[in-house]
Subunit: 714 residues, 2 copies
Amino acid sequence: MRNRLSILLALLLAPAIYAAEGMWMPQQVPQLGDELRKMGLQIDPNRFADLTGDPMGAVISLGGCTASFVSPEGLVVTNHHCAFGSIQHNSTPERDLITDGFLAATKADELPASPGSRVFVTTKIEDVTSRITGNLSAKLGDAQRARTMEKRERQLIDECEKPGGVRCRVASFFEGAQYLRTTQMEIRDVRLVYAPAEGVGNFGGETDNWMWPRHTGDYSFYRAYVGPDGRPADFSKDNVPYRPAHYLKVSSAGVKPGDLVMVAGYPGRTFRYRTALEVQNAREFTIPTIIRYGTDISQILHEMGKGKRDVQIKNASRINGFENTLKNYKGTLQNMNRGVITQDRTDREAKLAAWIAAEPARVKKYGAVMNRLDELSREFNTTRERDLVLNYLPRSSPMLAQAQRVYRWSIEKTKKDLDRAEGYRDRDVPTMMSASNRAQRTFHVESDRAGLRYMLEEAGRLPAGQRIAAVDQAISRYGLEGFLDRLYANTKIHVADERKRMYEESKAQLDARKDAMLEFAAALLPLSLADEEENKKYLGASSRVRPLYLEALREMSGGLLSPDANGTLRISFGEVKGYEPRDAVEYEPQTTLSGVISKHTGEGEFDAPDALLEAARAGKTKEYEAPHLGDVPVNFLSTNYTTGGNSGSPTLNAKGELVGLLFDGNFEALGSDYLVDPELTRSIHADMVYVLWIMDAVDRAHHIMREMGVAPKY
Amino acid sequence: MRNRLSILLALLLAPAIYAAEGMWMPQQVPQLGDELRKMGLQIDPNRFADLTGDPMGAVISLGGCTASFVSPEGLVVTNHHCAFGSIQHNSTPERDLITDGFLAATKADELPASPGSRVFVTTKIEDVTSRITGNLSAKLGDAQRARTMEKRERQLIDECEKPGGVRCRVASFFEGAQYLRTTQMEIRDVRLVYAPAEGVGNFGGETDNWMWPRHTGDYSFYRAYVGPDGRPADFSKDNVPYRPAHYLKVSSAGVKPGDLVMVAGYPGRTFRYRTALEVQNAREFTIPTIIRYGTDISQILHEMGKGKRDVQIKNASRINGFENTLKNYKGTLQNMNRGVITQDRTDREAKLAAWIAAEPARVKKYGAVMNRLDELSREFNTTRERDLVLNYLPRSSPMLAQAQRVYRWSIEKTKKDLDRAEGYRDRDVPTMMSASNRAQRTFHVESDRAGLRYMLEEAGRLPAGQRIAAVDQAISRYGLEGFLDRLYANTKIHVADERKRMYEESKAQLDARKDAMLEFAAALLPLSLADEEENKKYLGASSRVRPLYLEALREMSGGLLSPDANGTLRISFGEVKGYEPRDAVEYEPQTTLSGVISKHTGEGEFDAPDALLEAARAGKTKEYEAPHLGDVPVNFLSTNYTTGGNSGSPTLNAKGELVGLLFDGNFEALGSDYLVDPELTRSIHADMVYVLWIMDAVDRAHHIMREMGVAPKY
């Protein structure tokens, strides 16, 4: 019998240096050179280490998504779903850009992206480890240690951002063994150039989300503008297209199974160095509980909206938020429950223990690490049920969430900027106020109350030792419904003007309002603060031991390890490859235009534009057909490991040319943030050949093609 | 662009003689010899024409299912789902054969099959065309013509069955161009020998029904017994195993992609010679309406059972019946709606018209055929809505169904046996009485009433010109609920003893009962009789023209055409082959034991027995692994065309050895009763290698293996 588990374990125990295995930091790539050449790389691996060179200098962040420059005039390509906010922002009932797409005939016709849109160009990465962890007094308590490190980070950021026009970050790598400060040029004038129709850019919609076979032309184009002086500037008619030092060359050659492909981008978060105990906690408690809360609250919101279109609209984005998380978490849990992840961690820790035990020097240095990590996990988890309830109370009630923010702000704003809680610094105020504005659109008192009732009932079921006093006291005094009656009868938190004033008031002024929701927020605050203190303690204690754990793993692996994703620029290597999702089923790694037409129903999520169907029918496809497919390629799969934040990433061929846009992972990849299964984990890309075919034969975006150096065929 | 439709049309227009295309009559096989040899056949094609020879003499009917002899002592192998009634019949709460399976240690331990179980061995096929259609007076009206033919059929059957121990049938081939009388030896003592656990025999259950990839060990073993004189006899301790003239040799060599496989069996019904207009009527009216009725009534029955286990049990088999039909019809409709079937018929008729027009002699002979067929269809369809309501009234109410049967029987039994309506002859009485007994278990007055209410409402919506007077009068007199009150308050049809008496009473006695349900049945009768008369007229008129239509098609095709299935012995040829269900998805044609283990959840429909898991874990598989799979094969796909009735059919390799048991078609094959799509239509087989592995390593049915001439390995 074939035994997938044994194949997988064999792979896991293979040499740790394996280029296809990680999300590599650019500066690590030269060390992978030999292997990359074996995989087919045709350019100098050292080039990837140069952030301002070719190709990495062309890889940019949109904050949450990745994109790349594709012309000397600041033309940017990313995913349709990454530009969706801007498409929506410019849509009106009369001019439905979402459905019909948009193509600016000239630069003058380009539309401002949605407010807050940014293009971040990474310009510098500096090692600041010693400035974060150096000279930390041994006498500091755990919480104090964490606070000190946080303050040092903030100072490093402030110092970096001072000149203006840049956004800086200090990111922890290898669980705190290394700290790097990244500097990004922050371009504030971003404009929408071209987006295909929804029936291309979001073809398949929610139904196909995470799924293969896929047929989505998930691409859109922006342009970055700067002031006439070449420096970032707010939107202005006088601004000029940004001229990037480098932009990617678009290839129309397509890909074939087995081709090397590289994905450069800004992956958000992975958990590949979490311990067995931490994985177990996620699998047994955190993820299932979050799924339960999300399912139940989303169900409540659905019920509230039944037959009421206005309520449906108000609750739509909240439901969307819960359901996105749900699909992701359910998939992760399902894949976790195959048991391979837990097995991997247990094996890794057993192997590490044996490796440590093999030499007295290792025992001395690392002997206590695993026990200490597990001890910390256990301590931190003693209040896990309560912590999650505290976390979900504001999620269940946007009104309570606003009350908590308002009240906390009245306290934090009296402190020095550097000393405030995270999220309450002066630089965070615009974000806080726009979140308040967005919340206004979601307020619906009955839904809010129904959600909060659900979480208060959950709080009521917490075990002894984890009770929330503020909740217990309120309910024992008024009863659940009585308390809810009071809360919602005596609050103005959902009144936009009132809340705006509240954000300006002092704590004393807020107290004087006797607003029931604010009072509840105030009553919850001591426990939240105590919780934050515990968290800081945990972080401080972790920072003493977790870097050692990674050092041990790195040493054991022979020196090269790819760090967990943390939103910084990375590159992953892989090949175009299908997979066998289950016995007797083979997924080929490329889909075709015929597949688009087969899926097309003419309604809902599967409604390809008439122009596409017409072009296909008319046989305007020959020049874009891949000989090995006999058809126009649409999407492809690769073994590259990617995660949220990678959306829109350029997919490069062995020559470093743009051949695709990463836009999703397969269902089996859910959970790959914990463990990559080389047999099943795949990334999904929009093939640039399809993008070019749509541009040429369907949307006639010929001037954009020419700007990218590609000659239209039709 | 690839264009599947054009590929398909090209195939359809290819030479009509194509062995892999039909369900061939045994006597046609020699004509396919050359092609079969090209496909890999290693035995003399003429052998298939000999019904009492090898292998066809070993292929038997169970009435609704197919089976085959696999030992000189009357051992019979068929599908688990074909023997399910017998497994269920012998199950008790203490001895759960359904869940655990059953293995008779010796012949003495074999269990009687469920009452009415039969083994039919085809012994003779005679052409009786001239005795059915010869000398039919031209003066006969259409209905009279149909009645005369029906009477001739009956006489042919009675004459054939007279000696006893045989069951005879006259079946129409090529739409009435040919009539054949089949004689089957009817073995009445059938015993259950061996059935695997439900977690093997029905692994995947409803979820996997019609699906690929599949992992079901759908097999069971019977043994046929006869009297000591070798003639069929009722069950008796003195009976002896039947010694068939031929039995199949079991191969343990397995199959590989590309291998020729042959399926011999008794397919029930296909519609491949239905006209475009008939297909259109099925697609636009009959199938969607049946789906609607089935969905709604099944929903009503579900509702009635909510929270009431006893009602659930009473309605279970009815719901099951509706849902089986639904899955099948929905799939058929979905595949019909791809449009290929209609296209095929239109093309065929256009081609035929051109062929006819090409020669004056053809015009003379066939010129009027198509028009006449379409005219008949249209006439017959003018009351299609009412006909379907009449058909579904008794389906919606088992009580009304029984009332109709009781009342009709009181009329028919006064006639001469040969003159009675179909289903009311003396030979039908046992079937009628056991149906009445089975109905008793399904009676639930409230469910019956709810179902009937639904269909009465449907009757109320019939268009003018198709009204049902009996319903209209009753409802205008009492109102719908009032009528239902009367019906169910004043009937004893659901009382077992009363109904038994009713079956014995005369029409006058029944009338005197003033039983409301019987009165409603009596009121519906005139319309039913008129409808039957219309039907006879249609059949009579069809019998004048439809054979000509087939003759034209046969002539056009060059002389060889495989007739529609009609429950008689057929053989189909194909190869082991996967398919591409949709863009970028490839289904391999063989599943494996690893796949069983992946699907195993330990509960519900995916609960493989511990002994299987244990044997797999222990590596007791080597001897059964296929080298090209590196695993034990479980199920395989082939291009053979099969349909209901083929279940349990032996699948033979190129040497005529048993390599599999056909047990299902793929989802894409739904609709293949109308048109086979060679790209998508597949049959699903249990691989004999898996059957043998289970017998050897899991169930230790070593003595049965030895009886089949296969040496156990463990």
